[in-house]
């Protein structure tokens, strides 16, 4: 019989430090996991994802693009339909600061939205295996992907860490 490699062990925790201890054990074993929490906390980030998020790079590039596009639009439109005011330049950059500034923010904001959708994998239509509605209320969850032979060991580790209950599902 071929052993299934797509089981998910779900630990439900009342206490954040218990859940983090379970995560540390899972990480040490180099296993694929997701930690669910009702609230973002630095303590969780430090254990689960200490690296910087790439969102800021996307935002910066989008904002710079917006700035260039804002100025370019104003300058190009003015050159295409010149409205001469005394001896002033048709491409009067100080006046175009506002469109440039606003589009910096507009593009930056929309770029940030796009990056949330991409990096958080939203919208997600698939039901996340192991997700429990209590994770948006007051419980912390640790869901670990494993093979059938690892299930018992993982269940024990979760309970040792302080899990209220441990469940086994089909896949992560």
């Amino acid at each position: 019989m071929v052993e299934s490699s797509s089981r998910a062990v779900v630990g439900v925790f009342t206490y954040m430090d218990d859940a983090l201890e379970a995560v540390k054990k899972v990480k040490a074993a180099n296993m694929d996991y997701r930690m669910y929490s009702p609230v973002p906390r630095h303590e969780i980030e430090e254990v689960t994802y200490p690296e910087k998020s790439p969102v800021r790079r996307v935002s910066l590039i989008a904002a710079m693009t917006g700035c260039a596009c804002g100025f370019a639009l104003a300058i190009w439109c003015s050159l295409d339909w010149p409205l001469r005011t005394s001896a002033k330049n048709i491409a009067s950059v100080p006046a175009f600061f506002v469109p440039g500034y606003e589009w910096t923010i507009l593009f930056g904001g929309l770029g940030t939205l796009l990056s949330i959708l991409v990096f958080c994998r939203l919208p997600s239509v698939l039901r996340a295996a192991g997700y429990d509605p209590r994770f948006s209320n007051d419980k912390f969850g640790v869901v670990v992907a494993c093979s059938g032979s690892q299930v018992e060991d993982l269940k024990r580790r979760m309970l040792d860490s302080g899990a209220d209950e441990v469940d086994v599902r089909d896949s992560l």
């Binding site: 980030e45 689960t48 469109p99 606003e102 904001g109 939203l122």
Partner: protein
């Protein structure tokens, strides 16, 4: 930290828990009662009045608006500036105070942000109504057209198009992104088919795993950083609609900071006007505490000071400039035909808020409710003074004029409140109008080991 302690200790009650936050906030989404329907129908009634007046104006002609030379900008532009101003404090509370880690913002920021989005939606209607022929509103946008015409990018009016449309887009995006985890919490409690579908779709399948939270937090901080300059820029650009002209009373370099401070002043007052009945109706006393009203009162006191200083500076500049037209304008405002508007504004914006120096009044809920309404009347009058008074007395006495409100303008003004109220009423019943996640962030997390628990309490409100 101080806030958290005050929140917990002031009433000698058990600390608020994560589950209680969900229970209290999501209880607001339960099927509405008669009161809610009454409120909604009142708003719809006002909206119907406004819509009828607008259609009448389009049918019969713009003359119905009561505007004639020299009053080219009247009630509609006054309303536009008023509603953009209302919108401002929402962004201040949601973005600026987020960057400054002001913990008092958490329970009120969602309401303030909703107010921002709906107020900008209201404000945005007025330039379009003011066009007279709203179907040409598209011409404001720089889009390729058959005559190869482009709008004038040196005009502050076009800057306004960019500023307000960006403001609406970014504040709506910021608002929606902040809502996602809370909608997911509502989804997990939903019992009816309709609610399950509504929240299931609008939360985009959010689960709150560690990867999602990581990017969400990073993005939220960046949104706040993008929205912060908008607080300063939008009303500055609105003020340039006036200040870039040569009309006496408008042509002043103080206008941008003066407008921004006024906008925050009126917006915080509107947050109080909305938060007090909401808190009472939905039993949010443990989430929106006197500490929050005290903090908002201090913000009002501060911005009232800035606004008062700006009024005085306007008078001083007019006198010091030795420009007869400026001097006359600032004599006309307090002693001319519309003196009631000037002194009404002075009382509501400068004198009445000074009572907030008294500590007990800063947490006196009925007093704050009355004060907040007076401030909003005062801020509407401020815009009336700037727009009407300046236009009725420009340079040449032969071109002076008067102004009479038409019932069409009054109807549309009332309709705007109906429009704004309708969105707010619908929002509070269908989406969490108190931020579940953000309130949980200022609470100490549940910890088994006491030493960590203490550490967590010490970090509450400083953990972003």
């Amino acid at each position: 930290m101080e806030h958290t302690h005050q929140q917990h200790d002031s009433k000698k009650e058990a600390p608020v828990t994560y589950a209680e936050v969900n229970d209290t906030v999501l209880k607001m989404l339960e099927p509405p009662g008669t009161g809610w329907f009454l409120l909604l129908f009142t708003c719809l009634f006002f909206l119907a009045i406004g819509a009828s007046c607008w259609f009448y104006q389009m049918w019969s002609g713009f003359g119905e608006s009561g505007k004639s030379h020299p009053i080219g900008w009247g009630t509609y532009i006054t309303n536009f500036v008023f509603w953009v101003g209302i919108a401002h404090s929402g962004t201040l509370i949601s973005a600026v105070l987020y960057l400054f880690r002001a913990a008092f913002r958490q329970p009120i920021y969602r309401l303030a942000e909703a107010m921002t989005v709906f107020a900008v939606m209201t404000a945005g209607l007025f330039p379009i109504i003011h066009l007279g022929r709203p179907w040409y509103a598209l011409w404001l946008m720089p889009y390729p057209n058959q005559r190869a015409l482009w709008p004038n990018f040196r005009s502050p009016l076009l800057w306004d198009v960019f500023a307000v449309s960006t403001y609406f887009t970014i504040s709506a995006t910021f608002f929606f992104v902040g809502l996602i985890p809370d909608i997911a919490a509502a989804r997990d409690r939903a019992t009816t088919k309709f609610r399950k579908a509504l929240y299931g779709v609008t939360c985009l399948g959010w689960r709150g795993n560690h990867i999602q939270w990581k990017h969400f937090q990073a993005a939220y901080l960046i949104f706040a950083a993008f929205a912060t300059p908008l607080v300063v820029s939008v009303h500055s650009v609105v003020s340039w609609d006036f200040a870039m002209s040569i009309v006496p009373g408008w042509h002043a370099t103080i206008f941008p900071p003066y407008f921004v401070a006024g906008a925050i002043f009126s917006g915080v007052a509107m947050v109080i006007t909305l938060a007090i009945p909401l808190r009472k109706a939905f039993g949010l006393e443990r989430l929106i505490t006197p500490v929050h009203f005290d903090a908002m009162s201090k913000l009002i006191l501060m911005t009232s000071g800035v606004v008062t200083y700006s009024y005085i500076t306007e008078f001083y500049t007019a006198w010091f400039s030795n420009n007869p037209f400026e001097r006359f304008q600032f004599w006309f405002r307090p002693f001319g035909e519309f003196w009631v508007a000037f002194w009404g504004m002075t009382f509501c914006n400068c004198i009445f808020p000074q009572l907030l120096w008294i500590k007990s009044l800063r947490t006196n809920i009925p007093f704050l409710f009355v004060l907040s309404i007076f401030i909003n009347i005062g801020m509407w009058l401020e815009r009336f003074n700037i727009i009407f008074q300046s236009l009725t007395r420009e340079f040449i006495p032969a071109a002076w004029g008067g102004y009479n409100f038409s019932w069409v303008e009054v109807g549309i003004t009332v309709g705007a409140f109906g429009w704004f109220g309708m969105w707010m009423t619908l929002f509070i019943k269908f989406f969490p109008s108190v931020a579940i996640t953000e309130i949980k962030e200022i609470l100490p997390p549940p910890m088994r080991r006491a030493e960590h628990g203490h550490a967590a309490v010490a970090n509450a409100g400083h953990h972003h």
